[in-house]
Each structure stands twice: as C-alpha cells, then as structure tokens.
C-alpha cells in the first residue's frame, strides 16, 4: 500500500474499532489433544466427574472390548477398548499406561453404541415378580426377594393351583427319577437350568451351582443349537480338539464364505470386516455363497446365490472337479502321521491314507492286520504292503482289497467313490446353479496354494443336514493342505488364558478344586445330548425308534428340544425350570409352538425366569427375577479364532446398577445356596477362610488366573495379587501383542493334530429313530424329518424358501429396544426378489401375510422388493416382530405397565418355520449336531 493510504487505512480502521459492543465469535479454549487415530477433536466427554471403565460388549456375541465413559455415574459414551484386538489393527501394546490409553479409542459398532439405550431401557423389570393369574395370562405382582427365595426353595400352594415342590424337596441325589430306568439319573435331574446367552465366567459359576452343588445333570442347556451348533459338532468330527475355523484373513489370497456375512455378523464382526478390507486392498479374492445379496456379497468378487441347504452338494461338486483336474494336494494327504507331515513343514496330517474295514466301518488296527504297533495306531498301505501309520514316511492314497481276509479301502478311495456317485451336473442341479459356477469356484480355490480357505457359519448348518454339510465344507480345506499355514485355515486361534485355572501358572484351580463338599451329577439330560439311545432301558425294551431323538454327538445342548421334551415328560418329567436371559419362544424356529411344552403347571410345576425384561419366554414363567444388564455385570468372554493372538477380555460393571433391586445371576444363586446350605458357598465356600459370598469373590480368582498366566513366570506387572488383578481390570482384560500372531510360515497358536475325512465314531453310531448308521464321509442329504423321511414341503402350496439373518445393526432379541437402531431399520422387512414380487402382484411396501403348513395364520410384514435376493427365497431379518419385550403392556400390581410399540415393529420369520412332521411339536433338526433348522422351511405369501 502507498504510505498515505497506509496511514489512512490505520486511521479509518481504528475508527471502526469499538463501534460494535461485542467480543466477536471466537473464544479461547484449552490446547487440544494431539492428533490421534483420525479423531483430533477434543472429546466433549471430559472432566472431573468422568470415569473410564473398560469392559466387554454383549451387543452381539463378538465380545469386543469397550471403553465406557460415565459422567456422574451415568453412562455417556461407548467406544472401543484400544487394547482389545477386535477393535483396532493393530491394537495398542498391553503395557501402554492405562490413563494415557484413555485418549485413544478402538472401534465400536452401532450395536455397542446403542447399549446405552438397552441399559437404560425403561421397560426393564425392576423388582421380583410373581404371577397372579394363570401362567401366561400377563398378570403379575411385585414381591420381595425374600418371598421369592422362600417360595422357590420351600414350594407350597404358591398359586392356588395345588402343591408345588420347591428346590429343597427336589434335591434328591439318590432316588431315580424313573425307577424303571435308573440310568436316567436321580430326581435332582428334574431341575433344569436353561440359559439363553451365557458366557464364560458366568457359565462356569452356574455349572458349579447346578452340577456340583445342587447335583443335576441339566446344569446348562444353553442356546447353541439355535445358533450354530452343527458347525461346531461338524468341525469337532473333522478335528481332534478343535471345533471352530476361520481364515487367516490378513495373509490369505482367496476366501470363500458359505452362509455367513462377515461384514454384518459372525465373530467378531468388526475384526472380520476390518481384516477383509485389508484383504481386498491387497486384491484378495472374496466369494460369498448366500441366497441373499448381503453387504458382504456387495463387496465380493463373486456372489453365488445357492439354494439353501445344498452347500454340501456344492462342496462335493468342487471336490469332483478338483480330483478330475488334479488340484488336490496328494502329497499332504499321503502323510499318515505328524512326523511324516513335519518333513514338509506341515503341523497337521490327514487320515486320507488310513484303511477302513468295510465289514464293520471301523479303521483297521494293528491287531486286525497282524502288525506290531500301538493299539490305537492306524494301518496304511505303502506300495501295496500294509504298515503302521507311524512307521512310514508316506502311504498310498488309493487302495481297495483285503488285509488278512478283511475287506478294506483307504479313506481317500472311499471319498472318491462317494464324490463320483454324482456328476458335476448332478451337484449343480441340486444347488440349482450352473455347473460352470462350481467349476470356476473350484478352479479359483485351488489357484492360490495354501493361501485359500473355505469358511462357513450358520447358513449351511442350521439345516437337518447341517453336520454333514459342515464336514463337507471343512474337508475342502484338507484337500489343499492349508490348515495352520499362514494365509490358510486357522483351526485354533490365539485362544485365551485359562481363567478357571488348572495350568501351571494359575494360582486357583477352580475347575477341579476349591469346592468343598462337591457332589457329582449323573444321568441323562432332558435333551438327551451326549447320550446313546442304545444304552437306555427304553432301547432295551422297545428298540427303534426312540420316542424322541437322542443326540450322542450334540455336546452343545439341543435347546429347541427342551421345552417339547418337558411337555412330553420325556425321558422324565421336569419339576423346576430356571431360564436365564432365555427367549426360546421368540428366537427358536417355530418357537411359538414351544410354549405348549411349558404352558401347563401340571406338567411343569415351577418356572423361574431370570431376565431383565418381560420377554416372550419369561412372560410364561411363574416368577421373574430381575437381573443385570451386561454393562452392570461380570464375565470373562472368549473370542473366535479370527483373532490369532491370545485374548482374555474381562467384563466388569461400568456403573452402579440402573435397576437398583436387580441382582446378578451369581448373587441370586449365592443367596439360594446360602439359604439351602449347598456345599461350596458361604464364608468357607472355596475352603477354610476363603469365602464365596459375592460375585467379586469368584471373579477376583478368575482375573487372578488371567493375570498370573498359564505358564510360570507369565504374570502381568504388580507386586501383589491385588495389583496384578487391577492391572488387568484397568485394561479390560489381557491381550497378547499383535506382533505375536504368527511364527514363521504358520500361525502362532496353531492346531497341530489330525485332519479327519472319515469319522469312525460317526460311522459306527446309529440314529436313534431309524436305527441306521450315520455316514462317516461327507455327504449331501436332502431335507429329512426325525424318522429320516424326505419331507414333503408342498412346494405347490408353499413356493418360497424362508431365510433369516441379522443385519449389522441388530442382534438376537435385544436390540429392538433401542430407538436409535429401530430408527434406521426399514419398516419393510419381508424381502423378496423383484421378479417374484411382480409375478404375485406385490409392490414395495405392501402388507403381506407370510404363512406355512405349521402356521396357517402366519405373520404380517411389509414387502421389501429387491433385486438382491435369489428368486424363490423370502428373507426376513431377525430381531424384529416382538410381541412382548416391552412392545406390549402387562398387568403389574393391578395396573397396566407402559409399553413402546416400536419395539414390536416388523415381523419375525421364526413363527412360520416348519414343525417336524413326525414329532409335530418341535422344528426340524439335525439328528447329529442337534442344530435347529432355520433355513429349510417353505412358506406362502399373500397381500393383505
């Protein structure tokens, strides 16, 4: 500027100054935190009254670490715990100062954020309730804890309907429940504990109570069979000591997911989705096999819209192509032992070369073959000559002949014969797909060496053929020898420190010790899990079929069988049922029929629900004991093998309980135990001078075990046990460093055992209804009922296959109470293909009735017309359509309670799922793994 102009500028400008009596719109502020993690803004939740607590989420079952901020004792913010491997890649070093770490955040999904609303749910049950009308009539009164405990323990004429036995009189550990069938166990077994969602820490606590203090074998019949149990059982029958696989995503080149949407569900969803983003960035190939074009399919290279229930056929078709085109790792399959396979760097080996007797379906053993060897050793053939599996470097894959007059074949020969029973076109026809899709998939899968994995979750296994399908899919991995390799199939994961003790470093062995006066439960569970029908008195009397199915392989409970078995009083009547966070009626296929099993007090005299809302199932109880939300509670949940580093999350209370009169399960059962004098509780509950009087007494020991570690010298910092425990609690658990995920060419915590193509135990066990042997090889089976008959689905009347899933912002029954989550849930929830809709004159938004042969009345929901669906399939997301859970009022102390209608919006697919045509009171189910069938039902749809 010219000097004169400059002078004028200053003069004029200063003249303007002061004309406006205002300070302007800027203010001084504190120096912000350093730029971190892409979130440079000063955290608005900060200050003197702010407390940070690290815990573990239960918005779904992923068990992500949470970092919760409370302000004046009220939960204000939920984000991810940056120490926890679910929430960050990499997660922060465990030694990071816990106060400094408060400036950092891991990720948390929408469900986690919405836990603020599920915690402060206005429809929580606040006090113990007792029914005052007939069971299920919706009439309740508030009672005190003392009254509830007194009546539950002592019984009496509690409801004006006649005498009801209480816990005390039912605790008979010697008199058989059925004198004619003593193998079923004592009368104490007539008390059942049936939790819905129960996690580690808590499940061991209730096992201690029910099994080892009270003395019932029905100590924990939890939900797994309506989740994915046949996935676990199927894998358990493929491995020795593992039941869960996941791809090593961060190093893989090709992944095919059957029946799961890792960007929306599975465990842990956040970690899977994040790792898959890195995978895709590296140009990894992703394939999704699902009748629905999910979020995951949208990000995949290929979407395969398979006909539900035919995944085993697809897998066998792939195997056929792989064998025909020499894309099988025969070298790996020929290794008969760990020693032999180790030469090539494998940590696993396979039974492909083992000889199987064709007369009795068992493996050939040294004694059979006249060969020296350990009793349990297998026999193989090398250059045509039999040998022990431990004594040779490799064995012939194909052999069929006789050894010492016994007809034998190798497992591989049997597998090949099985695969070649059908042509590739036959398999494709079963799946209702073009054969070229199976060919291309097999070609791709076998083009990445060992850095390819087949993975699956509940989609292929919640069928009557679920276990067989799980095996078929898992075995695809064996054929390319990818187990425990970097980038391949992970069958172990990082696992966890053993909070129950029993390892050299753990100070407290809660599994085997610290329970004075412990009793032993014995007998058969009400769902007949892990029990052989042939060992029963009933079998000796009546032979096949059993009255209801027995499940010798279902070690994870058969949840959907419990209520119908109670109703059928089979194999013995039940007197007292405890349910905990259980919503069988809402969450099971054909769950509305489950009510019939527990409806009648003459059949089930006493039902106590431990719940936090009036749910669809707890509304059928006699007492409701209000319990805690997980943000008020303790636990030590584990993570899935997606996470390759050792991980022990610790759930701890974030706030003083919002429902002041609610109690945790641990508190309830400690109270009952003290009143009943059960062993293992009280001032010397763990032993002399070692009390078990509060949940903290239990969890301090669990966390101490984690803190000290499994090995000697593996402790976290701290001079005393208390300091070590606090170190772990401050971080929300204990987490191995991210860098420890791999060792050389393998994962760091690998599965190091046999991979089983032919399962001898399966092949030599008979179905309790048909008397037929199960199949030890992978096989495709169509939809069958309990009697093994192919189900007539009446496709002419019910043309649509019904599917269900959970969207990324919902999980199970509990998320519908969040208005945030329901606000972005579309009202239209009956998803159908656009061409199908057009054919039926249905437009987007039309109200529809969806009904089945098992539920002619059906459910109602609005149409969501989309191209993103396989034709012939209807898909309804889970978590909607509540008819209790706070969506409806009930009568409490003579007055109606408040209700929030939005909780009941939409509809659920479960009520229209098919009943087993033979049993008629339970859904179709997998006779081996025990999984309930969610995806085999056929429905019809009409506009209303």
């Amino acid at each position: 500027m010219e000097s004169t102009t400059r002078r004028n500028f200053i003069k004029g400008a200063l003249g303007l100054g002061g004309l406006l009596a205002t300070g302007g719109c800027m203010k001084a502020t504190e120096k912000p935190s350093e730029w971190i993690s892409g979130a440079p803004d000063v955290d608005p939740v900060d200050g003197k009254n702010v407390k940070v607590v690290r815990t573990v989420c239960l918005g779904c079952h992923s068990a992500c670490g949470l970092q919760c901020k409370t302000v004046d004792g009220v939960l204000a913010k939920v984000s991810g715990n940056p120490y926890h491997p679910n929430t960050a890649e990499p997660h922060i070093p465990y030694t990071t100062d816990s106060k400094e770490a408060e400036k950092l955040e891991g990720t948390a999904c929408a469900k986690a954020g919405a836990t603020i609303q599920t915690l402060y749910n206005p429809n929580r049950v606040m006090h113990p309730l007792k029914r005052v009308g007939p069971r299920g009539s919706g009439k309740w009164k508030t009672v005190t804890w003392e009254q509830a405990y007194d009546e539950i323990i002592k019984g009496g004429d509690l409801f004006g309907e006649g005498q009801v036995e209480g816990l005390s009189s039912c605790r008979d550990l010697t008199t058989p429940a059925d004198p004619a069938a003593p193998e079923l166990g004592p009368k104490a077994n007539q008390v059942v504990f049936m939790p819905g969602r129960i996690e580690h820490g808590k499940k061991e606590f209730t096992d201690r109570w029910f099994k080892n203090a009270y003395g019932t074998v029905n100590n924990r019949l939890d939900h797994t069979s309506i989740c994915e149990t046949s996935h676990h059982v199927g894998l358990d029958l493929c491995f020795d000591g593992s039941n869960h696989i996941k791809p090593d995503i961060m190093n893989a080149k090709y992944i095919i997911f059957f029946g799961t949407s890792p960007y929306e569900a599975n465990f842990p969803m956040q970690a899977l989705a994040r790792k898959l983003n890195f995978f895709r960035e590296r140009k990894g190939k992703l394939v999704i096999v699902d009748p629905r074009f999910s979020n995951s399919a949208a990000k995949a290279d290929h979407w395969i819209p398979i006909l539900p229930g035919t995944d085993a056929a697809f897998a066998l078709g792939m195997m056929r192509w792989m064998i025909e085109n020499d894309r099988v790792d025969k070298r790996y399959l020929s290794f008969p032992s760990q020693k032999a396979a180790g030469v090539d760097g494998h940590l696993t080996w396979c039974d492909a070369s083992y000889l199987v007797r064709q007369d009795n379906r068992k493996y050939l053993r040294p004694a059979d073959a006249g060969i020296k060897g350990e009793e349990k050793e297998y026999i193989v053939v090398t250059n045509g000559n039999p040998a022990g599996s431990e004594s040779v470097a490799s064995a012939d894959l194909e052999f069929a002949g006789e050894i010492k007059g016994i007809p034998v074949k190798t497992v591989y020969t049997m597998l090949k014969e099985r695969i070649f029973e059908k042509s590739l076109k036959d398999y494709a026809d079963i799946c209702e797909l073009d054969p070229e899709i199976i060919e291309r998939t097999a070609d791709d899968f076998t083009s990445y060496g060992r850095r390819a994995t087949v993975d699956f979750y509940r989609g292929p296994v919640q069928h009557t053929n679920g276990t067989y399908t799980a095996r078929a899919l898992a075995i695809l991995n064996f054929l390319i020898g990818n187990v425990s390799w970097k980038g391949g199939c992970e069958a172990h994961g990082g696992s966890h420190w053993h909070e129950m003790g029993g390892k050299p470093g753990n100070p407290f062995n809660l599994g085997k010790e610290l329970h004075p006066g412990k009793v032993k439960a014995q007998g058969v569970t009400i769902d007949r899990k892990k029990a052989k029908y042939e060992d029963s008195t009933e079998f000796k009397k009546n032979g096949y079929p059993a009255k209801r199915q027995w499940f010798p392989f279902a070690y994870n409970n058969v949840y959907q069988e419990v209520f119908p078995s109670i109703g059928a009083q089979y194999p013995y009547p039940i007197k007292i049922l405890f349910t905990y966070w259980n919503n069988t009626v809402y969450s099971s296929p054909a769950g509305i029929h489950q009510i019939n099993g527990i409806r009648d007090p003459k059949v089930l005299p006493l039902h106590i629900a431990i719940d936090y809302v009036m749910g669809e199932t707890s509304s059928w109880a006699d007492y409701i004991l209000p319990t805690l939300h997980f943000l008020e509670d303790w636990g030590t949940p584990h993570v899935a093998p997606t996470i390759l580093t050792t991980t022990s999350g610790v759930r701890q209370p974030v706030i003083e309980r919002a429902a002041k009169d609610a109690k945790s399960t641990e508190e309830i059962f400690i109270d009952l135990a003290l009143k009943m004098g059960l062993p293992g509780y009280g001032k010397e509950g763990f032993g002399p001078g070692d009390p078990l009087l509060a949940p903290e007494d239990w969890y301090k020991k669990l966390v101490a075990n984690i803190a000290y570690g499994d090995k000697e010298g593996d402790s976290v910092p701290g001079d005393s046990e208390a300091q070590k425990v606090q170190y772990v609690l401050d971080r929300g658990g204990r987490f191995q460093d991210y860098s420890k995920s791999h060792k050389g060419d393998h994962t760091a915590h690998p599965y190091k055992n046999i991979c089983i193509i032919y399962n001898e135990k399966l092949a030599t066990t008979r179905d309790s209804m048909t008397g037929e042997y199960y199949d030890g090889l992978p096989i495709y089976e169509p939809l069958k009922d309990a009697m093994g008959k192919i189900v007539d689905v009446q496709r002419d009347k019910y043309p649509f296959r019904v599917n269900t899933y959970h969207p990324v912002f919902h999980a199970q029954a509990r998320t519908a109470v969040s208005s945030w989550l329901m606000d972005f849930t579309p009202e239209e929830c009956v998803e159908m293909n656009a061409a199908d809709a057009k054919k039926h004159g249905i437009k987007h938004g039309d109200m529809l009735r969806v009904f089945s042969s098992s539920n002619p009345e059906g459910v109602k929901g609005k149409a969501f017309v989309t191209e993103a669906m396989r034709p012939g399939v209807i898909s309804i997301p889970h978590s909607l359509g509540h008819w209790q859970y706070g969506s409806k009022s009930f009568d409490l102390d003579g007055k109606p309670t408040s209700a929030r209608q939005f909780v009941g919006r939409g509809c659920s697919a479960n009520p229209v799922m098919m009943l087993d045509p033979y049993l008629k009171d339970v859904c179709l189910q997998d006779p081996i793994g025990g999984s309930s069938s969610f995806y085999d039902s056929y429905v019809a749809v009409e506009k209303v």
Binding site: G12, G17, P32
Partner: protein, 228 residues
Amino acid sequence: METLSSDMENARAEVYQFLGTLLTENLSSESLGNILNVKTASHVKTLFPDPEVHRDFEKLIENFSEGRLTETDIMLDFEALLRIPGPAYICPYESSYRGRKQIQGQTQWGSLNGPSTRAVQRFYQNEHLSVRSELADFPDHIGAEMTFMACLCRQSAQALNTDNEMIVEKLREKQRQFLQKHLLQWSKDFSEELRSRAATLFYRCIADMLSQFLKMEIKSLLSSARIS
C-alpha cells in the same frame, strides 16, 4: 515492500472484526446508531479508496436518517440472508460454497460440515481458539473465519510489540495460509451473492467493503512484508 507495524496489524484486526461481526450478529439499535452516522462514513472513506464504496455508505446513512431504511428492514435482511434458509439465503459457510454446483440453472449448495469445515477447525484449535456456537453454528461461518483472522492479526501485533520476529513471521505465514486455503477460496463468491441478494443497501455496502478489504489483503499480505 510492505513494512509491518503493530498499528497496521491492529488496524487489520479491527476491520476483520468489524466485518466479521456484521456478518455474524443481528445488530442492536445502539450498534446501528454507532455505525450509521457521519463520523463512521468518514472512517469508511479513509479506509476504502474506491469512491463507490463510500458513496453507497453515505447514501445508506442518508436513507437511515430519513427513515427510508429502518432497523427492522436491516434486521429482516440479516435473517433472510444469513440465518433462515429461504429464497434469499446465501449459506454463509465455506463448505457450502466449495461444494456448490449449478444443475440446470439451479444452485445446489455443498453440504454443511464438509472437509473444509474440519480443516478450518484445526486451524482454530492450533491457536487454542474455538467458535462460540451461540453466534456461529459451524466453524467455517464467514463471520468466524473473519474473526479468526482478526485474532491472528492481534497476535502478530502483540509479537511486533515485543520484537519477536520469529513469532511474527510464523503468524504472518498462518494468516497467509488461512487466507489462501480458506477465506479467499470462497469470499469473492460470497460477496457477490451477498450483494446480489441483499434487500437493503446496508448489506450491499457490507458486501462491497468485504470485497474491497480482501482485495487489499491479497495485495499486502501475499506479497512479502518486512518488519519495521
């Protein structure tokens, strides 16, 4: 080359503050009375060499004193231009202008709270400043950006008073950066919108003053200046 002085920096701060406040707040009677008088007109005349600017300002004072322009007119014009999304609304946010598109003759404003909003906020945070949300709802409001420049100018005036050359240069560089990356990216368009849509001469004058002042700034700040 421009010679720096604390007086000059303070003067710049006053102009930034003055214009920033006029674009942020609806003025009280007292404030309007303070501005719309002959004395202020002479300040404007010495400040802005462009004759059209001070001619319009003088006409403004005349209209106001003779009742042809009232406080209510000015207040309503502020609301319509700068607060209430109606036909005259000119979206006084950087991200609205930088994301603006013309589609079939219609203006489609860019989204609020865009990337430039956060970038602006970081500038403020680095100077330990934040916006008073009761006055400016987003950090990239025209008034907030102008007031921020005022703050930087005052800081450099203080630094000049203490002869801290290094700080002065840093502050001048921050001013340059902020002008180049933010304020100058959209202020010309904003001024044009303000001028064309203002119903009153008051806001047309402000548009002219804003435009003129920022032209001066471009000339003086964006050439190298030495400290006197």
